[in-house]
């Protein structure tokens, strides 16, 4: 019987079967940030177990609130910083070098096809874009990961999501994944892996694939995954060229992580997105999604472009297509948060940052900030935000605030008009 990519990764990392339904895996990359890791560190200290299984396999970043906004966040940052130093964790990213974890770690080449990855962060599923098994976990799982390099999962089951057709103008990976979540619902993929395949995925950049996988958790999935191919190899080339020498060799090698033709899936669904329109959420759940035309005219107070979903260079480029030569509508606040220093630098060099600023946007340093309502653009009660982030939960960006999730292009259109707007009218 054939195997899915995830079954192959599980087989290659198998450590134990504590029961018929559960597997314990060896973990290749344990990623840490300053919100969920400090309690694990403190607990290990209290237990007299302040150790790490392998400092080279641990990556850490201060990203959620940075620079620290108050004593409490400064303490969290300090706990992580001191620990990274104490444990000899070389891949630690602090002010000046830090950015949103799920954008920063991929651009450092830390995630490779076939890897197992955990982090105390639900959007860890993003890294499945590289043909890895990457899952968000709680602090106890993270703590055991740090200490022992293992994590437990249920035996994987996969939903094969085939995306056919081609992306129409003004429609992006964000619109595709919002549409898929609407169909699957917020619990449609619980305990499952979403494997994204088909011509649309194959022609997507790594950035777009990350956007797709990033929101797999919003359908409840353990991980999103794309099959590693030439696009993956090109993205990783600076990090793997010594290993392979020749790009074709890498591409061929990556096929060992492809699902077999006779792999068994728990469910198979397919979408033709040729006629898809830009999508937007209307409620407090990420499956409450409508065509943007149905929401046009909805008033907004703030536009937020950033996050691990859509704070990458291609996202900034798309938004700038509309913002160039235009200004934000009166009374609307625009916030751009490039997801990493590299993205920020490239956007500066390309003149994108200048275009955002000329349009009236405030540009923040790379950080999670307003995405989870902790800093840099928290909403007041009754305020509405057009946002490129991934969660529209009640209170997510500030108590009493409302978040409409959309693509960077749609967010830019909303910034210019002050209301939710079909961005295709600007193309």
């Amino acid at each position: 019987m054939g195997q899915t990519i995830t079954e192959k990764i599980f087989a290659a990392h198998h450590r134990d079967n504590p029961s018929g339904d559960n597997v314990v895996l060896d973990i290749d990359v344990v990623m840490c940030h300053e919100i969920t890791t400090p309690i694990a560190i403190n607990d290990l200290l209290e237990r007299g177990m302040d150790r790490v299984f392998d400092p080279t396999k641990i990556k850490a970043v201060i990203d959620h609130v940075t620079p620290s906004k108050d004593s409490k966040t400064a303490t969290q940052a300090k706990i992580l910083r001191d620990w990274a130093k104490r444990q000899g964790i070389k891949d630690f990213f602090d002010i000046g070098a830090n950015g949103v974890c799920h954008a920063l770690f991929p651009e450092k080449g830390f995630i490779r096809p076939g890897n197992t990855v955990i982090m105390g962060d639900s959007h860890t599923c993003t890294h499945g874009a590289f043909g890895a098994f990457a899952a968000g976990v709680g602090t106890t799982d993270l703590e055991v990961g740090i200490l022992k390099g293992v994590c437990s999962f249920r035996t994987p089951q996969t939903i094969k999501v085939t995306i056919n057709g081609s992306l129409p103008a003004g429609v992006y990976a964000k619109d595709v994944i919002l549409h898929i979540i609407k169909e699957l619902t917020v619990k449609g993929a619980t305990d499952k892996i979403m494997e994204f395949v088909g011509p649309v995925v194959e022609s997507m950049t790594m950035e777009s694939r990350m956007t797709l996988c990033n929101m797999a958790i919003e359908a409840g999935a353990t991980c999103g995954v794309c099959l590693p191919d030439r696009v993956t190899a090109q993205y990783l080339w600076p990090f793997i060229k010594d290993q392979y020498g020749d790009l074709d060799k890498a591409v061929t090698d990556f096929t060992k992580w492809h699902s077999d033709p006779d792999a068994v899936f728990a469910r198979e669904i397919s979408f033709d997105i040729t006629n898809l329109t830009p999508q937007v959420t209307y409620g407090y759940k990420p499956d409450e999604v409508k065509d943007i035309t149905a929401m046009a005219g909805t008033r907004i107070d703030q536009v937020y472009i950033g996050s691990c979903t859509n704070g990458r260079l291609e996202d900034l480029r798309e938004a700038a297509r509309i913002l160039a030569g235009r200004t934000i509508a009166p009374g609307v606040r625009g916030i751009l948060s490039p997801a990493t220093p590299k993205i920020y630098n490239e956007a500066l060099a390309e003149g994108l940052i200048g275009q955002f600023m000329a349009a009236g946007f405030c540009v923040t340093n790379p950080t999670c900030g307003a995405c989870l309502g902790m800093s840099n653009g928290v909403l007041a009660t009754g305020e509405v935000c057009a946002s490129t982030t991934n969660r529209n939960f009640n209170g997510r960006m500030g108590k009493g605030g409302m978040v409409h999730l959309m693509s960077p292009l749609s967010a830019a259109a909303a910034a210019v008009t002050g209301v939710i707007t079909d961005p295709r009218t600007y193309l």
């Binding site: 450590r15 134990d16 504590p18 029961s19 018929g20 339904d21 559960n22 314990v24 919100i35 969920t36 400090p38 309690i39 403190n42 607990d43 237990r47 177990m49 609130v65 108050d70 409490k72 966040t73 303490t75 969290q76 706990i79 105390g120 962060d121 639900s122 860890t124 968000g136 976990v137 709680g138 602090t139 106890t140 799982d141 703590e143 055991v144 200490l147 022992k148 293992v150 437990s152 249920r154 917020v186 619990k187 619980t190 305990d191 409840g220 353990t222 407090y284 759940k285 989870l372 309502g373 902790m374 969660r391 939960f393 009640n394 209170g395 997510r396 108590k399």
Partner: protein, 171 residues
């Protein structure tokens, strides 16, 4: 073994997410106990009062589908733990929340839709859990027993007192 059960809190909604259980602004706390006052602070449920005596006295939560969806924050489990709630009974759970509960030696019990419906209809004041027999026991005038099954690994985690202790002994 720990005692599982006591006064019940009924949260009659699907998809209650982790931001509702403990808002992100409290994630800057570095002790579990500091979370105690903020349990379910942002829950959107008509008539629900996070600070009412009934809410504060609860030892068991009964809810519907996909409880604990959203963020990976274990704070959503700890805030129950420090409020002496160590059982959540629902029709289904989000994966990370469920795993976090068992990892902390607490119970996330799944019951069939009809049993959940019956619990909401009868609203027993108290529920006890018999882990050995695999029974949810609703007390009061409408005493009733609802059988449940646990994955054997999840049961081992509860017996061991959580994943850290289990993993430290075994790996």
């Amino acid at each position: 073994m720990k005692k599982f059960g006591g006064a019940c809190l009924f949260l009659d909604r699907n998809d209650i997410n982790t931001d509702e259980i403990i808002p992100a602004k409290y994630l800057t706390e570095n002790s579990k106990l500091a979370l105690k006052p903020f349990m379910l602070e942002d829950l959107s449920l008509p008539g629900f009062d996070p600070s009412s005596p009934a809410t504060r006295a609860a030892k068991v939560i009964v809810t519907r589908q996909n409880f604990g969806c959203g963020s990976s924050r274990e704070h959503a489990v700890w805030v129950f733990e420090v409020n002496d709630i160590n059982v959540v009974i629902g029709e289904s759970f989000a994966r990370i929340f469920r795993q976090n509960m068992f990892n902390c030696g607490m119970l996330a019990i799944e019951l069939p839709a009809a049993d959940i419906e019956a619990l909401f209809a009868s609203r027993p004041a108290e529920i006890m859990v018999d882990l050995v027999k695999g029974q949810v026991i609703a007390s009061g005038a409408t005493k009733k027993i609802y059988p449940f099954t646990l994955n054997s690994f999840d049961r081992d985690l509860v017996t061991a007192g959580g994943w850290l202790v289990y993993a430290d002994q075994k790996y």
